[in-house]
C-alpha cells in the first residue's frame, strides 16, 4: 500500500477546506481500505470523516433525510424505512454481509467503485483507473458487465443496490463543498462513462456528500427490491429490480421502476412505468411492460443473457409485489 497521511477533521467546514485533489474521505472504509490495499486508489492524504456530525435519520414531513454517515445496518432496521419504504430496507439487507453493513455508510455506498475485475487489477489496462489505457473487458471477461449506458471506453456495472432503490424514489443527494451547499438528483449525480469513464459523479473536487433526501411517497409502502445473484446471499447483483406500485382496485395508477446489475449507473425505466400506468394488474400487463426494458441494450459476449434476465426479474418483482399488502 502507498504511504498516506491520516487526518481526522472535526467539522464539515474543516474537512472540506483540507481536502484537495490528492485526498480521499474515509467513512466505513469497506471500499476505500480495500482499494488502497490493491493500490487502485492511492490518495496522499486520507481524511477520516467519522467525527463529523453527518448522522441521523429524519422523517418529519413524510419523506426521509438520511445522514451520509448513517450505517447500512441501522438504516435498514429503522421502522420508518422498513414500513414506509420497504424497498430501501430490502436493498440494504440484500447487500454485502452483516459485518460489512455494520461498517459501511450510506454516503460511501453511493460512491463505491465498480467491481470490474480489470479495474481492481493494477497490472491490467483500464480506462476508468488509468484514462486512455484501454478497456480489456469489452473483448474479455464481461459476464457481470453492463448492457445499458455503456460506451466504447467502459462497460462497467454500477454495483450499489441502495442506489437502484433510491433512483426509483427520485432521491436527491446533498453536497457541501468550498463553494457552499447544493442538492442534485441522484440519477444526474451518476455520470455515463462516454469517453471519460474516470469521471463517475457530479462531485466537485473536495465536495462531501452530507446526506440523501427521499421525497415523500406514501405508496412506496407497497414496494419491493428483488435481487438475482449467482448464489443466495452475499453477492453482487446479476440483475435486480426496485418497484413501487400505486393501485386503485385492480388497476395500476402509477409505478416506479429501476433496475440494477444492468447499467453503468442505476437505471430508471420510465418507459416501463408508462406501460404499467392505467392497466390492470395482471401478468399480461407485466409481461408487456417488461418488453420495454430491452430498448437500447448493448449485450456483450458473455452477458447476452442479461436483457432477458432483466425482463424476468421485473415480472417476478411485480408478481411478488402483488402478494404483499
Amino acid at each position: 500500500m502507498r504511504e498516506y497521511r491520516f487526518e481526522r477533521p472535526g467539522t464539515v467546514t474543516e474537512a472540506v477546506r483540507r481536502s484537495g485533489s490528492d485526498t480521499a474521505y474515509l467513512a466505513g472504509g469497506t471500499t476505500l481500505v480495500d482499494l488502497m490495499k490493491l493500490e487502485v486508489m492511492t490518495p496522499g492524504r486520507v481524511l477520516d470523516i467519522n467525527r463529523l456530525p453527518l448522522r441521523g435519520l429524519d422523517a418529519t414531513g413524510g419523506g426521509l433525510r438520511i445522514g451520509a454517515l448513517e450505517r447500512m445496518t441501522d438504516v435498514a432496521a429503522d421502522p420508518r424505512v422498513r414500513l414506509g419504504y420497504p424497498m430501501l430496507s430490502q436493498a440494504l439487507e440484500l447487500s454485502a454481509s452483516g459485518q460489512l453493513r455494520n461498517m459501511a455508510s450510506i454516503g460511501g455506498n453511493l460512491l463505491q467503485r465498480t467491481r470490474c475485475g480489470y479495474f481492481r487489477d493494477v497490472s491490467m489496462p483500464c480506462n476508468k483507473r488509468q484514462p486512455g489505457s484501454g478497456c480489456p473487458a469489452i473483448r474479455g471477461e464481461n459476464r457481470m458487465h453492463a448492457v445499458l449506458g455503456t460506451s466504447d471506453s467502459c462497460v462497467a456495472t454500477h454495483p450499489s443496490d441502495l442506489a437502484v432503490a433510491l433512483a426509483a424514489l427520485d432521491a436527491r443527494v446533498q453536497l457541501q463543498g468550498r463553494d457552499g451547499v447544493r442538492t442534485v438528483n441522484l440519477c444526474d449525480f451518476y455520470l455515463l462513462p462516454a469517453d471519460t469513464p474516470h469521471l463517475e459523479h457530479d462531485l466537485r473536487p473536495g465536495e462531501l456528500v452530507t446526506g440523501v433526501i427521499v421525497p415523500r411517497l406514501d405508496w412506496a409502502q407497497r414496494s419491493i427490491y428483488l435481487k438475482i445473484r449467482d448464489r443466495q446471499s452475499y453477492e453482487f447483483a446479476l440483475s435486480s429490480a426496485a418497484v413501487a406500485i400505486r393501485r386503485e382496485g385492480d388497476t395500476i395508477v402509477e409505478a416506479r421502476v429501476a433496475v440494477g446489475g444492468m447499467g453503468t449507473r442505476p437505471w430508471r425505466l420510465p418507459a416501463v412505468e408508462r406501460a404499467l400506468a392505467g392497466r390492470p394488474a395482471t401478468s399480461n400487463t407485466y409481461a408487456a411492460a417488461a418488453t420495454a426494458t430491452v430498448d437500447g441494450t448493448r449485450p456483450l459476449r458473455h452477458n447476452a443473457f442479461k436483457p432477458e434476465l432483466m425482463q424476468r426479474t421485473l415480472i417476478r418483482a411485480l408478481l411478488e409485489l402483488e402478494q404483499t399488502r
Binding site: 500500500m1 504511504e3 498516506y4 491520516f6 481526522r8 474515509l26 466505513g28 472504509g29 469497506t30 481500505v33 480495500d34 488502497m36 490495499k37 486520507v46 477520516d48 467519522n50 445496518t73 454485502a96 454481509s97 452483516g98 459485518q99 460489512l100 455494520n102 461498517m103 446471499s233 452475499y234
Partner: protein, 152 residues
Amino acid sequence: MRLNVTVNGEPRQAEDVWPGESLLYVLRERLGLPGSKNACEQGECGSCTVYLDGTPVCACLVAAGQAEGREVRTVEGLAEGEALDRVQQSFVDAGAVQCGFCTPGLVVAAHDLLARVPEPTDPEIREALAGNLCRCTGYEKILDAVRLAARR
C-alpha cells in the same frame, strides 16, 4: 503514531503504528492476539471478524486510525478465564471445526447473532453467517453448533 484502543476490556497502546495498517494487523502483529485470522484481506471471508464498539466488523478493512479511542473485542475475549463461551464450546461439541481457519470469525458472528436473536431460525442463522466462508466443513456442522449454542 501511537494507537489507543481498549481490547477485551483492557486499555492498550500500540506504538509506531502506521495509520494505513489494518486493525487486523495491529491486533495480530502488534498486540499479540492472533485469534482473528487473516485470509482474504478484502472483506469477503469474515475470518477477521471482531466486535468494534459492540458490532461485528471485518478487521481487515478497518484502518488502524479508525480504531483510535474505540473498543475492540476479539475471539480471545469471549471466554471467561478457562471456561469457554457457549458458542465456542458448541463448536467443539458439534465437531464444527476442521482446519479451524474460519472458526474464530464464525464464533464471533454467531456470538453476535445469539445476543441479538436468542432463538434464531435456520434461515436467520444462514443469513447471519453469510459473510463467513468455510472451505472445509460444508457448513452443516456449523449450523449444528449454532443451534446447540442457542439451546444452552
